[in-house]
Subunit: 240 residues, 2 copies
């Protein structure tokens, strides 16, 4: 059975303007690989209603899971929750359980639970909450879309809340070999190797350092014995 | 006149598997912002023919420019050039000018210009070459799609070759203010400020460090006087 598929949607002008360097994509990619869920696509869109709704619809229709990051805080530019509701044609209201979580949190901190903060309790109808042990304001799952915060510490905590509840597949195994030759020399043998192991993904990632050309060749697959066999052949082709 | 729009397409299994952290997106985002070209969307897809062709078509139809990174080397997993040709319905052949560049390069290095290396001279019909001062193998521009390498040093050199030839717009100006209060407190005043300056983009990027909550508020726009006016008001609302 093939692994479940996933897409990620990163929401935020700050990434597209170059002000902030996204780190959530790399984190989620690693976690999904361990879980055996195949991340097939990532999109980054701005804080724009039509762009968010369009991307959510396109990705939710074609992938088993969609993970979003960003745009669920209390400020005017945080429009993700209402866009997700609109994408699925459901309503969105301040929900009692989310409000209770936040009210208790701000009460403990001695901070007013004002209108802006109550905005973070707005949850689309039919969603389940995603726990946020870092800053309490919850994410949510609606259908196959998991909506999480953009702040990396909070995003990571929410991923840790969501992933155990999902069905994974065979974790992608990988082995790599660093070859100190230019890609132009190794391309022929690599192509033959890929043809002999059609179920494996064999990638070549070139580098150049101090004028020396090399490549990291990565062999990936779900079948450990096949990965071993291909790597053994590769090591014989390119002994150190 | 609105600024030209752009999208980026990052091609590579190594990003989606979490093995490699993409850095080209952040670099391009900053360069386009300086140039006055608005980066509206980024997609990351795997080394899959249908995924690449589908994304190129969708982005080229809706944006003024598409910039791709990755998949133009000599190995079997480098399929970007033929996918771009297929997306535009044109042929692809080894082209004399590209072959001459590469032949001279490998001749200088005393290295055989073998079949794999000649693959890097395959250029879609009607494309213009993008200069690569780092490792010679050229990128290319076909219609509104600029196809570049994934290795960061080469990607950056190709961006430097392409951007001067493009028409830019008004560079996006930005000013930011660090406010040492939780977003829940600043959300109300920020929302009013955004309503009073509808042509500006006002974003709030929260952080939490050593238990202290704060936010960087960024005001962006093409009109410097408006950015100044909004920032002056924000500074009065939240004095240090």
């Amino acid at each position: 059975m093939p692994n479940p598929t996933a897409a990620m949607l990163v929401i935020g002008d700050e990434i597209l303007s170059g002000r902030t360097r996204d780190s959530n994509m790399h984190y989620l990619a690693q976690e999904l690989t361990h879980k055996g869920i195949d991340l097939k696509e990532v999109r980054v869109v701005s804080d724009d209603r039509d762009a968010i709704i369009g991307a959510v619809k396109a990705l939710a229709e074609t992938k088993d899971h969609v993970f979003t990051s960003g745009g669920i805080g209390p400020t005017h530019d945080d429009i993700t929750a209402e866009c997700i509701a609109a994408a699925f044609g459901v309503g969105i209201t301040i929900r009692d359980d989310a409000r209770a979580l936040l009210a208790a949190h701000y009460d403990r901190q001695g901070v007013e639970f004002n209108a802006a903060r109550q905005r973070m309790a707005r949850i689309p109808d039919g969603a389940t909450l995603i726990e946020n042990p870092v800053s309490i304001a919850p994410g949510f799952t609606l259908e196959n879309v998991h909506v999480m915060a953009g702040v990396p510490a909070v995003f990571q905590a929410m991923v840790a809340s969501v992933l155990p509840g999902l069905v994974g597949g065979a974790p992608l195994l990988s082995q790599s070999l660093r070859i100190m030759q230019g890609e132009g020399l190794i391309a022929g043998p690599l192509s033959d190797l890929a043809a002999d192991f059609p179920e494996l993904s064999i990638g070549s990632y070139p580098f150049q350092r101090d004028g020396i050309y090399g490549a990291n060749v990565v062999i990936r697959g779900a079948d450990g014995a096949q990965v071993d066999a291909a790597m053994a052949r590769l090591s014989r082709l390119f002994p150190e």
